[in-house]
């Protein structure tokens, strides 16, 4: 009886491990194909949309990278916005950095064309994206550098090294938020 059970267990384990082998081989093949698509996009060749839709976040990031290279900013933005909260911290930091670059490049183009009103909100969005990227990965030198580019493009004007000023600001803010008593009533 025990021998029969052992035999059946062994055969079942063999079938299970073979199934796991087939599954892993399939997964590896899928990864290989996706990596080929990513390489193709990075080298500047487009791929079929249906391969990207529903694909891995890395593949979509590669497609956004491709759009940005071709200056198709709107498409790059819509692709990036879908993957902002996907995958791990490093990936999110990368996606936010690339999003920041997308905004900053447009802001610089607008600034060059002297469209300051269009450039300012774009630079603000770029700064926000870089800040988020650096909060996720503070060791990214490219994000630090480009954040400084964006900050020079759209300087933040209030004084920061005078704590007295800040205190006064805070106080005045505090007073404006306290509702006043109605006057002039009998």
């Amino acid at each position: 009886m025990i021998r029969t059970i052992r035999h059946i267990t062994l055969w079942a384990a063999l079938a299970l491990s073979l199934a796991a082998f087939v599954y892993s081989a399939g997964a590896l093949y899928g990864i290989h194909q996706n990596n080929d698509l990513i390489r193709q996009l990075v080298s500047g060749k487009d791929v079929a949309v249906n391969k990207v839709i529903g694909g891995e976040p890395e593949l979509r990031l590669a497609r956004a990278f491709y759009f940005k290279q071709k200056h198709r900013y709107d498409e790059a933005l819509s692709t990036l916005s879908l993957i902002m909260d996907k995958s791990g911290r490093d990936f999110q930091a990368k996606a936010r950095y690339n999003l920041g670059n997308l905004y900053l490049e447009q802001a610089m183009q607008q600034a060059k064309a002297m469209n300051i009103n269009e450039a300012m909100p774009l630079a603000g969005l770029a700064k926000q994206a870089y800040r988020q990227s650096l909060a996720l990965n503070s060791g990214d030198w490219d994000a630090k550098y480009n954040l400084e580019v964006a900050m020079r493009l759209l300087p933040e004007m209030d004084r920061v090294d005078m704590p007295d000023d800040e205190l006064k600001n805070q106080k005045s803010q505090l007073w404006t938020t306290v509702p006043g008593f109605p006057r002039g009533l009998p």
Binding site: L10, L14, A20, I31, L61, S138, K144, E148, P155
Partner: protein, 291 residues
Amino acid sequence: MRILLIMVLSLLGCSGSIDEPVSYFNVETPRPFGYVNGDEIPQRIIIETRSGISLQPGSLPVKGQINRWLNLNRVTVKQTGQRYQIDLLYQVFYAPLEVKSLTLPGFTVQLSQGEKSISQNVPAWTFTLSPLRELVVRQSEQGEYMRPDSPPPLLANTQALYGLAASLSVAVLIAVYLAYLYGCFSGMSRRTLFKRTLRKLAGLSEADMEQALTVVHHALNSLNGQPLFLNRLGEFYRRNPQYLQINSQLAWFFNYSNRYFFSDAMIAVAQDLQQLKELCEQCRKIERGSR
């Protein structure tokens, strides 16, 4: 009288230090220079209190934006007995035009002893921040120089590879074991025939000669595939020619066995057993291929 007064005063002085609610307070910060835009600055505050005094976590700075250029990313409090270790992780976002002095704001930590509240000031800390860009900005083809996009990472295949290797090894191991159970490795057991015989012989003495001879007979029969006798040795050598080199020893074995089992008053001596073992040693060398 004067000495007594001095003693009383000194005792009062001592009792004052014992009553201090905070017995140890220290703020540990890294170097105060060499930071750039986006850097994280850790600050560790260590407070040791008298027993019965506890820290009010609500008095610590809240995670989030402190001011326009400073964020507090993490606040962790570790308590071991009456020792509190507060770790703060600030991140600075400021783009100075030259090396600039900035200050991490101080705050007050509240400690409570029952109804009573005690304050402990954490002083502000000043450090310098350096710019990353030059004043006269470098120009590239697109305009102002900026760092390029981060290339998309390739998908990691390590997990799939590990899965593949692990499942394959398990499958192969199980398959080999099943093949062994199904008798696919009959040649392997033939290769260890005399090894097992030698192991059995090692535990026997000349008093167990009958058993020893049976064991060797059994090994030779297994090797031959059928019972082996003296008159069938020629046939055996045809199938296993490598055993021809120990022909004399094998002949001795069969003769000795015949005499032992079929003649009376045969007494086995230690030398016979030794000779038997030597025969097995020779057979073992042949089956291993070293002779």
